[in-house]
Subunit: 313 residues, 2 copies
């Protein structure tokens, strides 16, 4: 169980009176997730997820919740925040900012095939289109500004060759910014464990708490670096082709995006190498879950620096 | 099949490009419904209902759609309107105002028991609470003002005793207005065919196109006159008790509401007697579905005038 803030059934029962979701039947802590405390909540009216926000700045929470609400009302299968009786998404519970969202059916996949990559690509394309009418703005909280901050923090823990790799990649990325790529709100963390499948179809995209405004192509690069990986950390041509083709059928690529693809794959690898290094060497006090191995994304970055990136649409 | 405006697969496929709901898989006209043209629409992303509005004044449609959207984001299982890529709920298709909404699981019940009446009562109570933060206003389009209009129109078709019953009930209702009863947006048409059940639980409330701001108790009276009926048109004490108790557990009644209950049951019977008389004697040109027999609600009205109304909470 990985929850930081315990919630008793009696506390939850009381708290739910502020909503119109019926009476509590069951509450179960969710093991996954390292950023927030999550509970599966079943009421007489449906299945929900309760999230207590442990890390996120309170000022950013409305962006995430409103974005999820916006996408949900565009038909995107994502958790829909539930408004309380005073018509607000954001509440407090046991001293923490808290929100109730719908629970989606399905399970995440460990070993997706090309058909699953096509499903996630198509949904990502539709999600980007739907998100473009979302009016609020939050800069990608794990963008280039954060890379430089994180790089300074983790540099002392790296050996000389890793430090050189990091500095070289930061310099490369600084030379390759793409101000003309289509931008908009992106998920920015769409790993396999953040997508749910039901009977072979994608049934949900979850965990929007790294979302922000960024190049749309970056979202796809984050996906590709997880969904289309070979055992050697390369990109599987068939799965990457399926991801890109299905995305492109929903939102046609610009020629500029094709050119930017190899750089974007490196940017996405750099971002997760940095955050894993940071979590590993500078864990937050009280962090319950063991940090992921940073080496995985270092290898992905090295692989992307050395190899041509397949492009299929 | 009861659709007034045909929609071809090619037209629908094109039209759906304005949404982020995926590609069309299947489209099937819906047989039920006499007011609009409805289609079940299945896409690669989910199940939806397409409605082409045939009767409703265009100015009132935003009220209905926004109300459904408001209730859905409060967790009420009702059709959630889907916003298009320009972020609007209301579109046009084949010359008619049109909207796409989510399709809910479940089926309506012909012969509900007390347990089903409790389900609908509880949901109605929660729905009324959630609706109270809805900011838009539309007067109940089938309220006292409309009764007087409809009564003038249908009077020539009635025999002397029916005409006297109608005039007497209108006069009685005019003497018993309840300005202090809690008011808010109500469904106003929650008959058995507008509620869906799945595995014994209520899974949806549909068809909000008679909604308006009215006494909350009126909504419950409309329900009771359909869900709790005996073969003699009386109210079954067990089912009516279950309906009222479950509602009262969600939203506590005022003493004033208990006093108003018998009058409200008569008002609800009068409203449907009048609309059925109107549809029967003055059908709209091109109306495809045979009108319901008005006699049913005349008998309910006479029964409510003669009998004490059970009250249980």
């Amino acid at each position: 169980m990985s929850v930081y803030t315990p919630v008793s059934e009696a506390e939850l029962r009381d708290w739910l009176r502020q909503y119109s979701v019926g009476a509590l039947l069951e509450c179960e802590p969710v093991a996954a997730g390292i950023e927030n405390s999550n509970y599966f909540v079943t009421t007489t009216q449906g299945r929900f997820v309760l999230t207590l926000f442990e890390r996120l700045p309170a000022g950013e929470l409305p962006f995430y919740l409103e974005l999820m609400g916006h996408l949900a009302r565009h038909g995107i299968p994502c958790p829909a925040p539930i408004a309380d009786l005073t018509d607000h998404y954001l509440q407090r519970l046991n001293g923490k900012p808290a929100a109730l969202v719908t629970r989606l059916p399905g399970r995440s996949l460990d070993a997706p095939g090309a058909e699953h990559c096509a499903e996630v690509g198509a949904l990502l394309g539709r999600m980007h289109l739907a998100a473009r009418s979302f009016p609020a703005y939050l800069e990608n909280p794990r963008g280039p500004k954060w890379w430089r901050f994180a790089a300074r923090e983790v540099a002392p823990f790296l050996d000389a060759s890793k430090r050189e790799l990091l500095q070289d990649e930061l310099a490369f990325q600084a030379r390759h910014r793409f101000p003309d790529l289509p931008r908009g709100p992106v998920h920015a963390d769409l790993f396999r464990d953040n997508a749910l499948f039901d009977a072979g179809r994608i049934s949900g995209v979850i965990d929007f708490y790294f979302a922000g405004v960024e190049c749309l192509l970056y979202d796809l690069a984050v996906c590709a670096n997880d969904w289309c990986l070979t055992p050697q950390r390369g990109l599987d041509a068939e799965r990457a082709g399926a991801l890109l083709s299905a995305y492109g059928a929903a939102r046609a690529f610009l020629p500029l995006e094709r050119d930017a693809w190899p750089v974007m794959l490196r940017a996405a690898a750099l971002r997760f190498w940095l955050s894993r290094l940071h979590d590993y060497h500078l864990p937050r006090p009280g962090m319950l879950v063991h940090a992921h191995d940073p080496e995985h994304f270092c290898e992905i970055l090295e692989q992307r620096r050395g190899a041509a990136a397949p492009w299929a649409p």
